[in-house]
């Protein structure tokens, strides 16, 4: 569901003007079918060059790994988001600076008048290795996170500093999963990133029954300037992963081409093999 709001009729159109902060808009949609099993909620961005070379480079993995020296003295790759007002930025770099910061909330509009909010799980959206190995907060045991990040400043575009991303200690600072997901840069300019999990509660009810829903968006992230698009995607997962018909189509196509080619070659072979054999060489 595109909620960029370029279309004037879109509810989010109003958020395009920079004056309206914070801007909240609501988008209604209907699920024709109910979603069984776990449902994944993604946000999708397009025309967003996360794979630009300077963008990809603009991070400091040591800092993200919790290295205290790198925390206060980030890598030069982070320029120009390395220091702000003489304080090192944590997390530094363009990637972190441009972190996606819309807030999405999903409500099921039941038969009754009051909509039920869908429980969106924040944790478990990043790779295990990223969450537990690659990203670490600065060391410090029981010291509050704020102390550990002392001497650093927040990225320029951020509203809150990194240690206030979440109230949960396990999901705060560098190990905030939204952050981790964002930091894993996409390969293509059009991409989607996992935002929330909607876990199935019991076997009897579908996770998301068919019906009317509305999406509540706190619109913070500007994409209009570079002609970007923002979407919200709800998806279930099969054993093969996400819904991507490419491989299937490709296989079928290649398979049939191969078969055709095989037949053609067989015919050619029969026709020519004889002639080449008869033209025997005499040595």
């Amino acid at each position: 569901i595109d909620y960029t709001g370029t279309d004037p009729s879109s509810p989010c159109n109003k958020c395009l003007s920079p004056n309206e902060t914070p801007c909240v808009c609501t988008i209604n949609f209907t699920l024709e079918q109910s979603f069984e099993g776990n449902v994944f909620m993604y946000y999708g961005l397009s025309n967003f060059y996360q794979n630009h070379r300077r963008y990809v480079k603009s991070r400091d993995d040591s800092q993200l790994n919790g290295d205290p020296s790198a925390l206060l003295n980030p890598s030069k790759e982070c320029e120009p988001y390395r220091r702000n007002e003489d304080k090192p930025i944590a997390p530094c770099g363009a990637i972190a600076n441009s972190m996606f910061n819309d807030t999405l909330e999903l409500f099921l509009v039941g038969n009754e008048s009051d909509p039920t909010p869908i429980i969106l799980k924040k944790k478990g959206i990043a790779w295990w290795t990223d969450k537990n190995v690659k990203f670490r907060n600065p060391p410090g045991g029981d010291i509050p996170l704020e102390e550990r990040f002392k001497g650093t400043t927040k990225p320029v575009n951020w509203v809150k500093p990194v240690y206030m991303l979440d109230s949960d200690q396990d999901n705060n600072g560098f190990i905030n999963e939204d952050f981790i997901v964002w930091m894993r840069t996409a390969a293509l300019p059009t991409f989607r990133k996992l935002y929330r999990l909607i876990e199935r509660t019991n076997d009897l009810h579908p996770t998301l029954p068919a019906g009317r829903y509305y999406l509540n968006i706190t619109y913070n992230y500007p994409v209009h300037s570079f002609d970007g698009r923002k979407r919200m995607i709800l998806s279930t997962i099969s054993w093969m992963g996400g819904k991507n018909p490419f491989l299937g189509i490709a296989y079928i196509a290649i398979g049939s081409i191969s078969f055709l080619l095989g037949v053609v070659l067989l015919v050619i072979n029969h026709k020519y093999r004889n002639s080449s054999n008869t033209a025997d060489i005499t040595i």
Binding site: Y49, I237, G241
Partner: protein
């Protein structure tokens, strides 16, 4: 850096080897007369004369010899400077030299010192006081001309070429001689190609430097292979292609920055120094230049060197090219020319010592109408069986087939039947001599009168000089090997020519010493084609023994032996058909009175001043008539083992063989027939022997007209060429003549033919012929011919030879070849092959490849050359392909990453790709691959053809590689892209991130590339399995290692891809996409490989097809085709060898002059 240093080390080792060889030559010791300095003036200013204080001879190194030194040379020493003969141990200061290294002739030549100096003999005092002044012409390339004057004690003496001993000669039969060094020429420099050659400039006119001026003759050029050139051109292409791509990307970047990047600056600001998108795109151009530079294969050069090195080791290690008798393996002396061996189109061969062994053997004879010796066919089989190891080896390729075993056993039977004749009854027999017919020995033992007379005549009628250093060990010094063979034969049958003095010949006849009185020698010349001796036997009978060409001798026979003549002629026909050289032997008993009478006439004729030659020959004819026929001999000019077979095989491989020889025309043609360069099915043979431009031109024209009438009618491209744009070499189109023709051209004509416009005419004609024989050639001409073909035909040429006279031909680097007084610069064949055989080591030292038997050439070319070429081609195409496939992915990715010079792969992969992941399999492929094994490649020489036309790697193939690489990179980019686009892992987590994407692309790329090499490999060994699959496995190991927790935690900024491998590769869709990419990349290749032989069949494909067929169904035993020489030819040329010495005797020296020389022999013993 690595690339350069490896190459440097390799070349360094090559140089070291050469220097070692050089030093050997340079440090040969020579005896120099100290303080004996004469002044050699090259028509120039005078310099001071050193006074002599002490007279001693010191040993010095050759390299320190200077012009003006007086040196002492001893028997069998190699002369390494042009020296003016002063005196020698022999009477009249005669000195015998062998000029094998100059012109390939092994007979002795005589030089004589001028009388004034010869008186000095070995008086050191006189010699060192010698202070003459030599004025001579500047060095030139004429071997038979020299003019100069010696001023000594105020008198002038004329010097001609008889006084001069040229460098490269070997002193023979002369204990010592003294000489004055006239030209040194710095031979040692010539030995060594990397050292700049040296010229000596003799300034004639303006009184320049009095001795010699050394000049650097320019850096010697490397021998480069065609593939090297092609490679360089291609690298340039790639470079341009790269620039083009970078330019496109830079423009793309400019557009992108304008359209998107400008607005994207909220999230990704431009660098502060980037003021506009133009600046940015200039930067991007260079960024892409760096990223895409993997396309320019730098490591290619190293790999190519390694492959060549490997392939030359194969040549060195080849046991089938190891000559046991001499314990010499084949040697690849340069490692850079291997693949060129697979492309040879023209072989230029020396004759003596290369095709032939330069050994004449007495193989058959017919005495008084009775035939002795074994029939040819038997002999062939015998040879096969009796451990002629070389020959067996050469036939190895064919030996693997069933059937030859029977042949061998048959040969063994035959061998037992006709064992070597036992000469043990004869104490003086030469142990090396072998003869296979017992009946002759029995006849000798029985005391058959005719047989005895036959051998007596053989042992008397010759001009051989015996040498008996150790008692019982006779060594004959013959002017022609034919004579040597005959005398040796007589010796073995019990008629030992023991020694000669001026008036007697001592022969040990069946153990009994008899002394014949030598009355006259009627020497050989080309018109007479016979020689006779007149002796007085111990019984006081005067006998004339004559031997000569059958055609001549027949007419001189006494009518009474007509029937015998017919029988003998029949035998002679048989001999000739076996390719043997034949001679007739006859005798005449003379009346004492008649002889006296004749003797008077003879001396009269000799003393007559005018028209002496003519008169003498009339006198000779008077006595040489009414001869009684004794019999005929047949001498085999022994070819090296397997030569005819080799030549047949090579010509089947469409390699043209030209024989360039210093020999006589008849000999050369004879040999050409014997070794199948010419055969009787040929439609014609042209002999060009004109003496001036016009006739040569006429002869060439008429030859061409006969071969292909229309070629003259058409507008001649050469004429056009000559009229329009001379000086630019162009490629002469291949013309197919209507039939097989041979061309024989001799040295004089060639000298004309090589001038100006005629050389193209010559080339055009010669190239249409099946075989070309050039005889009477100087070494320079050899090089010129090679150069001619090389320049205009643009094909790979190979020169093979064994003597120093072939060096110019073999040596491809520009070098000054010193020959007498000649400096010249030329580059010759692409490949030089030296045979370490009879004529010394010169050729070997200068060659690129060296082995000891001609027949190894077929193995070198057809097996090693072909393999090297095929491997190199496969390697190159694969190497280019893999780099294209690797690099171009970046190009496609640029369109999705804002042309930001973002790489697809992680940096470690880029580093390792060429170095680790793909280097071993491709090296394995190019070192171990064989498309067909050696048996088949020898069996089907046609397989060699693609190399000659350079079919396997040329610009077209390169474009194919390029297209293939582009296609693969497209697949490799878009399949993974489609796979990850908007897709997620099974647990909903993301997969479409950059790092996962690069991992997928990397993995697919390696799989595809590995599969590709697996397809290319036709010969799987354990090593190729290990290399190919091992590399792939190794990739995964490295991948997991690099992406492991520990490493990444240690250096988080260096190894950023923590856990990517684990998270990506456990996802089935990744593997599905890898398989898909593989299938997609392979399909067109397989299809192409399948369709190509069907739609565009090349001959080779058919052959390979047939080989596969043969391999599945064993062949029926192959019927060996016997090499039968045609019966229609007569080969009575034995005497043609002898001209050298005969000329000396008849050219002005009286018989008297000759005799005293022989007096010395008793002293020598």
């Amino acid at each position: 850096m690595v690339v350069l240093s490896i190459t440097a080390v390799k070349d360094g080792i090559d140089d070291m080897k050469r220097h070692k060889n050089d030093n050997q030559v340079n440090n040969r010791s020579v005896l120099v007369l100290m303080n004996g300095r004469a002044v050699v003036k090259f028509q120039s200013r005078h310099t001071g004369i050193q006074c002599s204080f002490s007279y001693r001879i010191v040993t010095d190194k050759w390299m320190n010899i200077q012009v003006g030194d007086i040196i002492k040379l001893e028997n069998n020493q190699l002369v390494t400077a042009d020296i003016l003969l002063l005196s020698s141990s022999e009477p009249y200061s005669l000195t015998y030299i062998e000029t094998a290294e100059l012109d390939g002739e092994t007979n002795l030549k005589v030089k004589q010192a001028i009388s004034v100096t010869s008186d000095m003999e070995d008086n050191l005092k006189l010699l060192s006081a010698f202070d003459g002044e030599v004025r001579c012409e500047s060095p030139n390339n004429r071997l038979d001309r020299f003019t100069g004057t010696l001023t000594y004690k105020g008198k002038n003496y004329i010097l001609n070429h008889d006084r001069l001993i040229f460098r490269g000669c070997v002193i023979r039969n002369t204990d010592w001689c003294y000489g004055l060094v006239v030209f040194t020429g710095k031979w040692r420099k010539l030995q060594c190609s990397p050292v700049p050659s040296v010229t000596v400039v003799i300034d004639d006119n303006n009184h320049g430097p009095d001795t010699k001026v050394m000049q650097n003759g320019g850096k010697s050029a490397f021998k480069r292979t065609h593939i090297d050139h092609l490679m360089n051109v291609l690298v340039l292409w790639i470079f341009l292609f790269l620039c083009g791509m970078c330019f496109i990307l830079a423009i793309g970047h400019y557009i992108w920055e304008n359209k998107k990047g400008y607005y994207f600056r909220d999230f990704l600001p431009w660098k502060e120094y980037v003021s506009s998108s133009v600046v940015s795109s200039v930067l991007i151009f260079w960024s892409y230049f760096i990223i895409l530079n993997t396309m320019v294969p730098i490591s290619l050069y190293v790999s190519v060197e390694i492959i060549r090195l490997g392939n030359s080791f194969y040549i060195n290690w080849d046991r089938k090219m190891f000559y046991e008798l001499k314990n010499t393996p084949a040697q690849a002396r340069t490692t850079t020319l291997n693949e060129e061996l697979g492309q040879v189109k023209y072989v230029f061969s020396d004759k003596t010592g290369t095709l032939t062994r330069n050994i004449m053997t007495f193989s058959k004879c017919s005495i008084n109408g009775k035939f002795y010796g074994i029939w040819d066919s038997d002999e062939q089989n015998l040879k096969l069986a009796t451990g002629h190891s070389g020959e067996l080896e050469c036939k190895e390729g064919k030996k693997g087939l069933p059937g030859s075993a029977q042949l061998v056993s048959y040969g063994m039977d035959l061998f037992q039947k006709t064992e070597k004749v036992d000469f043990s009854y004869n104490r003086l027999a030469d142990p090396k001599f072998s003869f296979y017919d017992k009946t002759l020995v029995e006849a000798v033992k029985r005391g058959d009168r005719w047989v005895h007379l036959f051998f007596v005549s053989l042992s008397l009628c010759h001009t051989v000089i015996p040498e008996e250093k150790v008692e019982g060990e006779l060594v004959y010094q013959a002017q022609s090997p034919d004579e040597g063979a005959l005398v040796t034969a007589a010796r073995n049958f019990g008629f030992v020519f023991r020694s000669r003095t001026s008036e007697t010949i001592m022969v040990v006849e069946m153990g009994e010493t008899r002394i014949y009185k030598l009355l006259a020698i009627l020497d050989f010349n080309n018109v007479r084609k016979r020689m006779s001796v007149i002796v007085r036997t111990p019984e006081n009978r005067v006998m004339l023994f004559c031997k000569g060409a059958d055609t001549i001798l027949c007419q001189l026979l006494h009518p009474s032996c007509r029937s015998l003549r017919d029988v003998t002629m029949e035998h002679l026909d048989d001999f000739a058909s076996d390719g043997l050289r034949t001679l007739m032997v006859a005798y005449r008993e003379l009346d004492n009175a008649f002889f006296q009478d004749w003797s008077r006439k003879h001396s009269e004729a000799f003393l007559s001043l005018e028209d002496r030659e003519n008169k003498i020959s009339i006198v000779y004819e008077e006595i040489e008539k009414d001869l009684m026929l004794l019999g005929a001999t047949a001498i085999e000019d022994k070819l090296q083992d397997g030569v005819p077979e080799t030549i047949i095989t090579l010509s089947q491989a469409k390699i043209k063989i030209w024989v360039l020889t210093g020999d006589k025309q008849e000999t050369a043609v004879n040999i050409a027939y014997a070794c199948n360069i010419f055969d009787d099915e040929m439609d014609g043979m042209f002999i060009v022997e004109g003496e001036d431009n016009e006739t040569v031109w006429q002869e060439l024209r008429s030859a061409r007209e006969k071969m292909k009438p229309q070629s003259l009618l058409e507008s001649d491209p050469i004429d056009d060429y000559l009229t329009t744009k001379p000086r630019i070499p162009f490629k002469i189109p291949e013309e197919v003549p209507s039939g097989n023709y041979g061309l024989v051209i001799n040295g004089y004509s060639l000298a004309h033919a090589l001038e100006g416009n005629l050389e193209l005419e010559l080339l055009q004609t010669a190239c249409m012929c099946k075989g070309v024989i050039c005889c009477r050639m100087t070494p320079l001409q050899k090089a010129q011919v090679v150069e001619l073909v090389k320049r205009y035909k643009k094909v790979v040429t190979l020169a093979i030879g064994d003597g120093a006279n072939d060096v110019s031909m073999i040596k491809g680097i520009k070098q000054a070849l010193w020959l007498r007084s000649f400096w010249g610069f030329f580059a010759a064949a692409h490949i030089g092959v030296g045979i370490s055989g009879q004529e010394g080591m010169q050729a070997m030292l200068n060659s690129d490849f060296a082995f000891s038997q001609f027949c190894y050439l077929q193995r070198l070319l057809l097996v090693h050359g072909r393999w090297s070429y095929n491997r190199m081609c496969k390697f190159l195409s694969y190497f280019f392909y893999k780099n294209f496939a690797f690099t171009l992915v970046h190009f496609w990715y640029a369109f999705y990453s804002g042309f930001s010079a973002q790489t697809v792969y992680d940096t470690w992969f880029i580093t390792f790709y060429n170095l680790v992941y793909t280097s071993l399999p491709v090296l394995g492929l190019s070192l171990f691959d064989q498309d067909v094994n050696e048996t088949w490649s020898l069996r089907f020489p046609e397989l060699y053809e693609p190399g000659q036309h350079n079919l396997y790697f040329n610009k077209k193939e390169f474009v194919k590689c390029l297209v293939h690489g582009i296609y693969s990179s497209l697949v490799l980019f878009f399949i993974p892209m489609g796979t990850i686009h908007n897709s997620v892992r099974t647990d909903g987590k993301e997969i479409s991130d950059y790092q996962s994407f690069s991992t997928i692309v990397q993995t697919s790329l390696l799989c595809v590339v590995t599969m590709q090499i697996a397809l290319e490999t036709t010969y799987w060994t354990m090593i190729s399995h290990i290399f190919t699959w091992g590399s792939l496995g190794f990739y995964f190991c490295i991948l997991f290692f690099l992406y492991s927790d520990g490493l990444c935690l240690m250096f988080p900024n260096v190894f950023q891809l923590l856990g990517v491998a684990r998270n990506t590769l456990d996802w089935p869709q990744v593997w599905l996409s890898v398989v898909l990419s593989m299938v997609l990349c392979m399909l067109p290749v397989i299809g192409y490989h399948f369709l190509k032989p069907l739609f565009w069949p090349v001959r080779v494909d058919k052959v390979i097809d047939r080989i596969h067929h043969c391999m599945s169904h064993p062949l029926p035993p192959r019927i060996r085709t016997r090499l039968k020489h045609a019966g229609s030819r007569r080969s009575a040329y034995a005497f043609s060898h002898k001209q050298g010495f005969g000329a000396l005797i008849t050219s002005g020296k009286t018989l008297k002059a000759k005799f005293p020389k022989k007096n010395s022999f008793p002293f020598k013993k």
